[in-house]
Subunit: 215 residues, 2 copies
């Protein structure tokens, strides 16, 4: 089928209004049919050799989320200490996760051995399986935004916390843990831009024509 | 803003009808304003610490695409030899790239040192910058589909071919090379499923509740 201008504009709106959400979560439960829609969207990501290496662990239990939050607190102390002076002070003011406030957590893993040792499209670039699983993350993120759900990637967390808490086999790779929930509001600009941590790079600086550094 | 059911369904349609396109490309040029819209969508991907580590090299020159195609042919010979018997025969029948037929190529890189040595959110999980750049890939892919453009990821290609042909500094990482163009048609099912290489995994097999392997 062909999409028209209004479909295209809808996608661009969803892309532009997606945020990495770590605050303003509401406790409102997310209906199971909506969670299933999110995961169906993630499952339709592209994957190298069609290996679909991802799995999704759906976490609602507050005691599980409490353990993951404890893991974040430890990792965040270590992380804050890597910054100096004003940056360190600013870092400590930022809200960087919503593990306990958001009623839903999803952990995405990658099974690098799925479909066997030799995978079409992965013969030259072995990281393609991990990258496929990340494409599923972005589908999930856009689906969440279209469902008016905030989602945030909690990357300040040792993988060991997730392996242990969620009983994940060690031969899988952990892609990420994501907090998802309804929110009071979506911010117009990313928090890190809003609070003076990092500006948006001008797009023109990122575009090159024909070869590197040809503008 | 809040999205409604029709917006949500539009996103899901785009996600479900996106394909990894390697054939049926038309030579029709893609207007520059459309290319800019694609890259704007990619540039609005999430990124760890808002580091926006990606760059986009836009390639139209047929002689450049010819060189990249030569790189694919070498890599594909090596790759075919990794399969045995019927799989090897089937592999050789598959069309796995559209480098020369598609009028547009985009190479996406990742600058892992952008914004400095210590990056918020990357202190514990260093691969987050690469994963951010892959989120940009998926935004690009969905934007292309919404613009009725086919896009394929050419992963059977040594990174050296791209470093050399596109004059990319060696301290950057190459995420991928993508073929983009209008197409005669979009396939309803992925080629690898259609031609009996790999089936779609049932979604229910990928979903776990609360901990690994709890269905």
């Amino acid at each position: 089928m062909l999409f028209d201008d209004s479909h295209r504009d809808t996608l661009y709106n969803i892309i532009f209004q997606r945020r990495d959400v770590r605050r303003d979560f509401l406790p409102t439960p997310i209906p199971d049919d909506i969670i299933l829609r999110l995961l169906t969207a993630a499952h339709h990501a592209p994957s190298v050799g069609f290996m679909q290496p991802w799995d999704f662990i759906v976490i609602k239990d507050p005691s599980t989320r409490r353990k993951i939050k404890e893991g974040f607190l430890i990792a965040n102390e270590v992380s804050a200490d890597k910054f100096q002076g004003d940056r360190k002070s600013l870092y400590r003011t930022l809200k960087l996760e919503g593990i306990e406030e958001a009623p839903l957590g999803i952990c995405i893993t990658c099974d690098r051995s799925r479909t066997g040792d030799v995978v079409l499209g992965k013969t030259i670039k072995p990281e393609m399986d991990l990258y496929s699983a990340v494409c599923a993350v972005q589908n999930l993120w856009l689906a969440a935004r279209a469902e008016n759900l905030g989602m945030g990637w909690v990357s300040i967390l040792d993988d060991d916390v997730l392996y242990n808490t969620l009983n994940i086999p060690r031969d899988l790779n952990i892609i990420g843990y994501f907090c998802i929930g309804y929110v009071e509001q979506f911010q117009n600009t990313p928090d890190l831009q809003q609070f003076g941590w990092q500006d948006r790079r001008p797009l023109k600086d990122a575009i090159h024509f024909e070869t590197w550094n040809t503008k």
